[in-house]
């Protein structure tokens, strides 16, 4: 700029220069941290070295630009290009719209639904029913949706006929240094603010991680933008910097930004499958709870034996379960849930074993593995207005963690605190967890056997608790839920047997171990759970979950006829007594028995064929119980004697 003679003239020119450079600098700052493919973090001096070399003419300008306002910024080609473009036209004011574009990606159907759901989540999160959502749903994968997440406005407001004569004159002498100083301060603030706003995180996620994202951050510089609609404006927050007054106007800088954190890149980068697993595995928990509200205690201890058969209704569960769980949603969970909730998503293979690593990782997610979950936003529960999708997913891994893995031993606070009440305590969390039930399985004709199965499970679990008390084996705490799980599995097994939809994966395993008669033997050993039970209960220890479940299922399947057979006999009365004494849950047992009685006629006659086996099993149970009682509390002793007498009379 030519500094012509005359103080005022030169000063005005200088002021003009300062203002122009202020615009350029602010634009630089904004673009530097919002431009795609620009890593403003580790550029250090490399870019500054390369840019002078690239164009000799701009060498001095680069340097001078660097030193303007005493803020040496990293320069990248993209940013410089934009700056040069701006300098050519030099429009004022500067309006930078930071737009989040969703690239049209040809996703396969598996991945497509998550994107859709992500958009839905995104839009719901932002409460922004903009074109994104509609585009996605209408045009499928070909929509390119844009959303303005930030709008920066840098302008110089000229004041007209205001203190132009006296005050301006006087202050103009020290205006320039003051102006420069204030501009420096303002730009410092701008630099810090740019990194505090939510869009910076998106910028970092998109640029820093090496994954391809479905989203792109595009800053658009213009001098005129369409004003926001009222709806948009309602969703934006404004932050205005204090203007810098000059003699002839003032420099204003403000930003409109969306306050909720955007969950942009979470869907595209993180692998979906691990996220699903906990949700998937956790889904069976819902079923036992919903199916039998009369037995809140017995069912639904939140163990998590994954049953491949559960795929069908698990998804339905997810669809139906907008449970309001007070868990801070994490993006990964949200994704998985979003995916799972899509009924079109695939039938996932049995996730029995894989859940462990993701569960543990999820459990430790709270230690904030940024690298691992680069796109994941914060854990803060506040920014997500779409809890229905997020929360169940979060809770399920919790449930899983509680019940499943003994090594992880997550059953800390919720689970293994009181063995005697473990079942009961486990249940309350899980009912809220999964409030839905499988709609596919018909409940009417299975009530009876399932109730019975539940009873047996309770017996076993309580027996185990007794043994645990004496032996102090912690594994049993894991086993009890697993037993209940097997019960639930058996229930669904029966459902599926009726429907013959899914082959039971558990049939393959260890048929012999399912022999209930061997069970008392197992109890004989130490009162600890031995192989069959362990197979059923302690899957991480011995067999696979499938085998264990299969064992128990088979065992329990044989159990139902017992009740039907004896329902008419006096033993049915003694049975509840027996159980009542041992388990000390008279109400529920009587309820179960009532249901059994009610359901007995509906049980198919084919079950009567297994009466002999059932009798044998009953004997086994009694022996088992007696053993447990003998080892357990003395308070049971009388009941045991009573039951012994009853059982002997029955036999």
């Amino acid at each position: 700029m030519a500094s012509s003679h005359g103080n005022t003239h030169s000063e005005a020119a200088k002021m003009e220069q300062i203002i122009t450079e202020f615009f350029a600098k602010s634009l630089h700052i904004i673009l530097e941290s919002r431009s795609p493919f620009v890593s403003s973090r580790n550029y250090s001096g490399e870019q500054t070295m390369s840019s002078p070399s690239s164009s000799s003419s701009s060498l001095s300008s680069v340097r001078s630009r660097d030193r303007w306002f005493n803020l040496a910024l990293r320069e990248s080609p993209a940013v410089l290009e934009n700056l040069d473009l701006w300098r050519q036209s030099n429009p004022e004011p500067i309006m930078v719209d930071v737009i989040l574009e969703q690239r049209p990606v040809d996703w396969n159907p598996l991945n497509f639904s998550p994107k859709r759901n992500l958009v839905r989540n995104l839009s719901s999160k932002e409460r922004y029913p903009h074109c994104c959502n509609s585009d996605q749903e209408e045009l499928g994968s070909e929509a390119k949706s844009e959303k303005i997440i930030e709008r920066w406005i840098v302008q110089y407001e000229t004041k007209k006929f205001r203190d132009s004569s006296s005050g301006g004159r006087r202050s103009s002498n020290n205006t320039l240094p003051t102006l420069y100083k204030k501009a420096i301060l303002l730009l410092r603030s701008l630099y810090v603010t740019v990194r505090l706003l939510p869009a910076y995180k998106i910028f970092r996620d998109l640029n820093c991680s090496g994954q391809i994202h479905a989203f792109k951050l595009v800053p658009k510089v213009s001098s005129f933008v369409e004003p926001f609609t009222r709806k948009e404006e309602a969703e934006m927050q404004r932050f205005g910097f204090t203007p810098v007054d000059t003699s002839s106007g003032r420099l204003c800088l403000s930003v409109f930004y969306r306050s909720p954190l955007l969950d942009m890149s979470s869907g595209s980068s993180t692998p979906m499958s691990p996220q699903f697993i906990p949700d998937y595995v956790g889904s069976p928990l819902a079923d036992p709870l919903k199916r039998f509200p009369s037995l809140p205690v017995s069912h639904g201890s939140p163990s998590s034996l994954p049953f491949s058969r559960r795929h069908s209704w698990s998804y339905e569960n997810y669809k139906v379960s907008p449970s309001s769980l007070p868990f801070s949603p994490s993006p990964t969970h949200s994704e998985s849930h979003a995916l799972v909730s899509n009924p079109n998503s695939h039938h996932f293979p049995p996730f029995s074993l894989p859940p462990h690593p993701p569960e543990t990782s999820l459990a430790h997610k709270k230690s904030r593995n940024f690298d691992e979950y680069c796109p994941s936003p914060t854990f803060s529960p506040s920014p997500s207005p779409s809890p229905p999708i997020y929360i169940p997913g979060n809770h399920q891994p919790k449930a899983l963690l509680r019940s499943e893995s003994a090594p992880v031993n997550i059953p800390g606070p919720k689970f293994a605190t009181s063995p005697a009440l473990s079942n009961r305590q486990n249940l309350p969390p899980s009912p809220p967890c999964k409030l839905t039930k499988p709609n596919t399985s018909t409940a009417e004709n299975i009530v009876g056997p399932d109730q019975i199965a539940a009873k047996i499970d309770k017996l076993l679990s309580f027996g185990r608790e007794d043994s645990r008390r004496t032996s102090g084996v912690k594994i049993s705490s894991n086993s009890s839920p697993r037993i209940s799980f097997s019960r639930s599995s058996s229930r669904s097994f029966q459902d599926d047997f009726d429907d013959t939809e899914f082959p039971c994966p558990f049939d393959v395993e260890d048929d012999d171990s399912m022999d209930p008669s061997s069970r008392p033997g197992s109890y004989d050993k130490k009162g600890l759970l031995s192989d069959p039970l362990e197979g059923g209960a302690l899957f991480p220890v011995r067999k696979s979950q499938d085998a264990a479940v299969g064992d128990l299922v088979r065992m329990l399947k044989k159990a139902p006829p017992l009740h039907q057979d004896f329902s008419s006999t006096s033993s049915s009365a003694s049975r509840p007594e027996l159980w009542r004494n041992s388990i000390q849950e008279p109400d529920k047992i009587s309820e179960a028995m009532t249901l059994t009685h009610a359901a007995s006629p509906s049980i198919p006659s084919s079950r009567l064929k297994t009466t002999a086996d059932a009798l044998e099993e009953l004997r086994g149970y009694k022996e088992m119980k007696n053993l447990l009682l003998a080892q357990g509390d003395k308070s049971y002793s009388s009941a045991g004697h009573t039951s012994k007498g009853e059982s002997s009379s029955k036999a």
Partner: protein, 253 residues
């Protein structure tokens, strides 16, 4: 000899009581005891005595930042973030900003890129942490003050320099000692001990709340630094930042 000096100094203290910062006076006393002249000091690190602030400060802007509830292992990061942000705002010399990500939170703050500043702030934070360990009071306050050094007429035994504080920032911390914070002893450890599920839930909720509070404080700093600009003295060549000091009172209830 020392007594004599002390008397003289006390006389001078009294004389300048109404014109100077008592803090600066005390500094003179401290330094005079060692018979070292005080040259123009750009930045002084030191504990402030428990002299009450009966100071007469001209044009000193004071900013009380919102109180933050931090756990012991978070002190370092939180303080580092806040102090660097404040200094960056007032570093009017040429800076090459350096972005620093916090490990415990999803916040990126800016440093001046000056090694000396970093070192000084780090040392001060470590001092503070050790002080907090010794004084497990709940609330503590760190004061970052920017001052101007005015050298007065030469006295016959020492140079008189005084500080005119033109800005003070008070960082209020509430250091919570949670019973399960095993890592509290080591102020360098940032390992979060996860005692259990419910604990970790609480912790994550607390951490999220703290992160939001830190952001608020950062915005508070930005707003304050933007609003109050007139009192900032002019920059001079060759100096990156204004002289500043970080102090914390010994006892604060």
């Amino acid at each position: 000899m020392h007594l004599k000096i002390r008397n003289i100094l006390s006389f001078w203290d009294y004389r300048f009581l109404h014109e100077r910062q008592i803090v600066s006076t005390s500094h003179r006393v401290l330094n005079a005891a060692t018979l070292q002249p005080i040259s123009r000091v750009q930045a002084v690190i030191g504990f402030s005595s428990s002299v009450s602030a009966s100071t007469i400060i001209m044009n000193c802007e004071v900013c009380q930042l919102k109180e933050l509830e931090v756990e012991h292992f978070q002190i370092h990061e939180v303080l580092s973030c806040i102090l660097h942000t404040i200094v960056f705002h007032r570093a009017l010399g040429l800076v090459r900003p350096k972005d620093v990500d916090l490990e415990l939170f999803e916040i990126t703050y800016v440093q001046c890129g000056d090694a000396e500043i970093e070192k000084k702030i780090r040392e001060k934070i470590e001092e503070f942490i050790s002080w907090v360990e010794k004084h497990p009071n709940k609330k503590s306050q760190i004061c970052l003050s920017f001052y101007e050094v005015k050298s007065k007429q030469q006295s016959w035994f020492t140079n008189k320099t005084e500080r005119l504080y033109w800005e003070r920032w008070y960082v209020n911390l509430n250091v919570t000692q949670h019973p399960r914070a095993h890592s509290g002893k080591s102020h360098h450890s940032k390992v979060v001990v996860d005692p259990g599920e419910s604990e970790s839930e609480e912790r994550s909720v607390r951490r999220a709340a703290l992160e939001a509070s830190i952001r608020e404080v950062m915005f508070q700093i930005i707003k304050f630094a933007n609003e109050k600009k007139d009192h900032v003295p002019s920059i001079s060549e060759g100096i990156i930042h204004f002289p500043y000091e970080i102090t914390f009172p010994r006892k604060l209830q």
